[in-house]
Amino acid sequence: MSEPLNALAVARAALAIRRQFLRMHFEARSGHIGSGLSAIDILASLYGAWLRPGDQFILSKGHSASALYATLHHFGKLSDAELSAYYQDDAFLPAHPAPLGLSAIPVATGSLGHGLPIAAGMAHGYLHLRATDSRVACLLSDGECNEGSTWEAALFAGHHRLENLTVLIDANGIQAFGRTEDVLRLEPFAKKWDAFGFDVTECDGHDFAALASALSAPASQRPRCIIARTVKGKGVSFMENTIDWHYWPMSEAQYRRAISELDQCERELSA
């Protein structure tokens, strides 16, 4: 990344990533669409305006790998050829990030609760052992906060005051088989992270200015947690807030309808 993008430019990037993302899923006939759409605005904000050379990003919610692939492609970190292999045989781009395949993806994820411990290790190493100013961001799903290992890592990060660690939670409120509040209640979610030693910001996860402001808050000798309140399926009306689109692939008619909604969104952005 060269210069950080402003909020409008990030919004445009996110729209282009959504378009690419839907095309990938339509062509591959693959699922996990809803949770990718909820994460794309966060990913665009990170790659468009926050990550610097030497920083690390860990996608702990590995089931949004396709959203990450589309984001990396948009920002020039993944080639056309690499991206075209998404969900294909004999390629490095499966539904969850693969190990040792791509330099832009340092670690494989897919089983939930693994990303934050790894991110905490990196952040601890940079801050206390390497004395570099590298930062680490880690994107979790809210459902992933059911995992004990997530909270083990939160305890560690708070205790060691990993101020170079930013945890982002794609809080779309829906997990694999129900609403998060019905399956295992997370609220008061912000209070939990605060109690574990984090500076917590809650924001609209689709408001680029709010995300930028949360990401750029001054350092405070505590790790940061941004609870990004998002909408599963964001940007495609018939996918929004439903559990179905955690699973289903799109038909051609659904794909065309989704793209026409993005076209409308683009016209509004340009106006």
Binding site: P106, V107, S111, G121, L129, F156
Partner: protein
């Protein structure tokens, strides 16, 4: 072995500025001075083994070489998926150290016994296992691990039958030790192999149970995957005797004996002495458990004599 391990890993930390030590809250009355000496390169990750392995992977991803230490079952089974996904699949140089292999923790109970640690770890990609035979075998294993790129597991233990017997030879690559050789190569003989501290059963039998009067070679192996082509002395013995007794303080399923049997020619007679689970399990010292499992010097000598009579 713990004291020898701490001494050996200290050498590594002194030589390698990227090496560090992470403990899962273990080390009372043992690691205090070590912790002071290495400052920020000593981390007590608390009682949180999944996070401990994940953070070791994160540290290794940015070029550090962590040693991760706890009681054997806690640092292997509790965090097995982290070892597989975060460490092994990325070929990271994370050195896992389990204290209390086999029945070492005895009366502490079954939560603390490690009888399937080698079985589960040997299935993982890129993983290398080290299981020293004796206290004076630990430093060589630590030195080898320190030079490795990729994941490893070091199994520390105390045998209920511990001896101070010195080996006749030690292979610098495989770490295999020869402890006794046959008196008469023209007569039927037997190759007794112990995995790690399991060999101490045989060493005690040699010292005080009459095994030294039998026509046996005794070896201790200490590394997996095996490197049998580099273990000339061991292989020569097996090919000559075609009669092997394997002793391990580990369940038979997935153990080292099972793997070795597969690697040997079918014409070998292969007998296995290993730990076993019983539904009516009762608890006691490591020696008590070894006796329950017939993992004793007496049982070994009886088996040796029976096999030699049948040969």
């Amino acid at each position: 072995m713990r004291v020898d391990f701490v001494k050996a890993v200290e050498t590594t930390l002194t030589r390698d500025a990227d090496a560090l030590f992470i403990t899962g809250d273990l080390g009372f009355n043992a690691l205090e001075a070590f912790a002071t000496k290495y400052g920020k390169r000593f981390i007590n990750a608390g009682v949180a083994e999944q996070n401990m392995i994940g953070l070791a992977a994160g540290l290794a991803l940015i070029g550090m070489r962590p040693w991760v230490y706890s009681i054997a079952p806690f640092v292997t089974l509790r965090c097995l998926e982290q070892i597989r996904n975060d460490v092994c699949l990325h070929r990271l140089s994370v050195r896992i150290v389990g204290n209390g292999g086999g029945y070492t923790y005895g009366i502490m109970g079954s939560s603390h016994h490690a009888l399937e640690d080698l079985a589960v770890l040997k299935a993982l990609p890129n993983m290398q296992l080290f299981f020293p035979c004796a206290n004076d075998h630990v430093a060589a294993a630590v030195a080898l691990i320190s030079e490795l790129t990729g994941p490893s597991y070091l199994r520390l233990a105390v045998s209920a039958f511990n001896t101070e017997r010195a080996p006749l030879s030690e292979n610098p690559i495989t770490l295999t030790r020869s402890y006794a050789t046959r008196a008469d190569r023209s007569k039927p003989g037997l190759t007794v192999i112990g995995a790690g501290h399991g060999v101490q059963v045989a060493l005690r039998a040699l010292a005080s149970h009459g095994l030294d009067r039998e026509n046996v070679d005794v070896f201790g192996i200490a590394r997996f995957p095996f490197r049998l082509t580099e273990d000339a002395e061991l292989m020569a013995s097996i090919f000559e005797t075609k009669n092997v007794i394997f002793v391990e303080e580990h369940y038979a399923a997935g153990g080292m004996g099972e793997s070795l049997k597969l690697a040997l020619p079918a014409l070998c007679v292969f007998s296995l002495m290993s730990a076993s689970y019983r539904p009516d399990q009762r608890y006691g010292s490591a020696a008590f458990h070894m006796k329950q499992d017939q993992l004793t010097p007496d049982a070994l000598v009886s088996l040796v004599q029976a096999r030699l009579r049948a040969a």
